[in-house]
């Protein structure tokens, strides 16, 4: 039987790979747009050489399109950087709003590919816990992955966070297809290992079309075994 840490490491690598593949694909799309805009500028210049007048407005529009894509790429790279740094510290005080927002931003493209919309409802005040940011993001992604297959016809996953006692709770809601989802194999071994590692607990409520993860305030103090 494999060691729990091996499973967590393997799951983490898969998560990192999945996210970076999706993000770099998005960067490729941005580069493709910039490439076409630059190409169009070149085409216009060649036409100008042949005597066709250049419309300044058209040039302005192309320049604006490039600026817009550079700004988009900048946001994507910033998020990738935040994601990479989530593995810097194995234990850290975090605001769940930030963690959830980042996972959603990283997962949006993957969700869209499956025709799913993610609706995070963040809190105005910080929801702080002390945890392993990378492992928590990994767990949220795995649950999100499961939730996306349980939306039924609604095709929306609502995500909420709230303080619960000394810890916090994250809910995956609006899952109209939850009753039909393979709950006998959920959570699987990898999710169970992460739950244990994070001192977290999964609560499934089919009647409410949702499941929730209860997170310990400090995994150093409340770690479950």
């Amino acid at each position: 039987m494999r060691d729990n840490l091996d499973i967590i490491a393997e799951t983490g690598f898969q998560f990192f790979g999945k996210m970076t593949a999706s993000i770099t694909h998005e960067i490729k799309n941005v580069l493709a747009i910039i490439n076409e805009n630059a190409g169009l500028l070149e085409d216009i210049t060649l036409m100008a050489d042949r005597g066709k007048p250049v419309e300044p407005q058209r040039l302005k529009t192309l320049a604006q399109a490039v600026i817009k894509q550079i700004s988009r790429a900048d946001t994507i790279v910033k998020n990738l950087n935040r994601f990479a740094h989530s593995a810097d510290e194995s234990l850290k005080s975090v605001d769940l709003n930030d963690i959830l927002e980042l996972v959603v931003v990283l997962s949006n493209r993957l969700a869209a590919m499956r025709g799913i919309e993610l609706e995070p409802k963040l809190q105005e005040t910080p929801v702080k816990i002390k945890t392993s940011p990378f492992l928590l993001m990994n767990l949220i992604w795995l649950f999100l992955d499961f939730a996306m297959d349980a939306t039924g016809d609604r095709r929306i996953v609502e995500l909420t966070i709230q303080q619960a006692g000394s810890g916090a709770q994250m809910r995956f809601r609006g899952l109209q297809g939850l009753a039909q989802a393979p709950l006998d194999t959920f959570p699987a071994e990898r999710e169970r290992n992460l739950l244990n590692m994070l001192g977290a607990e999964l609560v499934v409520d089919i009647k409410k079309d949702e499941f929730a993860v209860k997170l310990a305030a400090d995994i150093d103090k409340d770690e479950q075994t």
């Binding site: 593949a21 770099t24 694909h25 490729k28 799309n29 580069l31 493709a32 747009i33 910039i34 490439n35 076409e36 805009n37 190409g39 169009l40 085409d43 036409m47 399109a65 817009k68 894509q69 869209a112 590919m113 499956r114 025709g115």
Partner: protein
């Protein structure tokens, strides 16, 4: 007659700019932002070549390719791919795609591939036409009975 091209990609800005560039090269371009929309357009109109993004929300490039080949088998498809989806593009070749191109595209490559794809379609159409003519000449009665 201009080569009729359907350009399918969910990145609106990419579709708009590439459409402009291909129009400048004298292609007759129709743009589509999803696989579903592309399939509807292919049912209604005849295109010579479809440029199809592999990774799109909803119906993906591979499923769209299958549908296109079912609806209009002679229409040639060039798959567009990012680096992470080359294997999918190769799968597309096995399913009958004419060729594939990596994003960001090189315009000369794309231009050449579109022309080659259109030439292959024209060649297939010509062969079918010739076979029909040959049928009529060798057995005019059977053709009349068919009608």
């Amino acid at each position: 007659m201009k080569i009729r091209v359907l350009l399918v990609d969910d990145e609106e800005e990419f579709v708009r700019t590439l459409s402009d560039r291909l129009t400048l090269r004298d292609y007759d371009i129709t743009a589509s932002l999803s696989g579903d929309d592309a399939i509807e357009k292919i049912k209604q109109y005849n295109y010579d070549v479809v440029i199809l993004d592999v990774a799109m929300p909803g119906i993906g490039g591979i499923d769209a390719l299958r549908e296109i080949k079912k609806i209009k088998p002679l229409t040639e498809v060039i798959m567009l791919t990012g680096h992470g989806t080359v294997e999918t593009a190769i799968e597309g070749m096995k399913l009958g795609a004419f060729d594939f191109l990596m994003k960001p595209c090189n315009m000369e490559d794309l231009d050449t591939k579109i022309k080659k794809a259109q030439a292959r379609k024209a060649e297939h159409e010509e062969r079918i036409r010739a076979a029909k003519v040959s049928d009529i000449i060798s057995s005019p009665r059977s053709v009349l009975e068919d009608d």
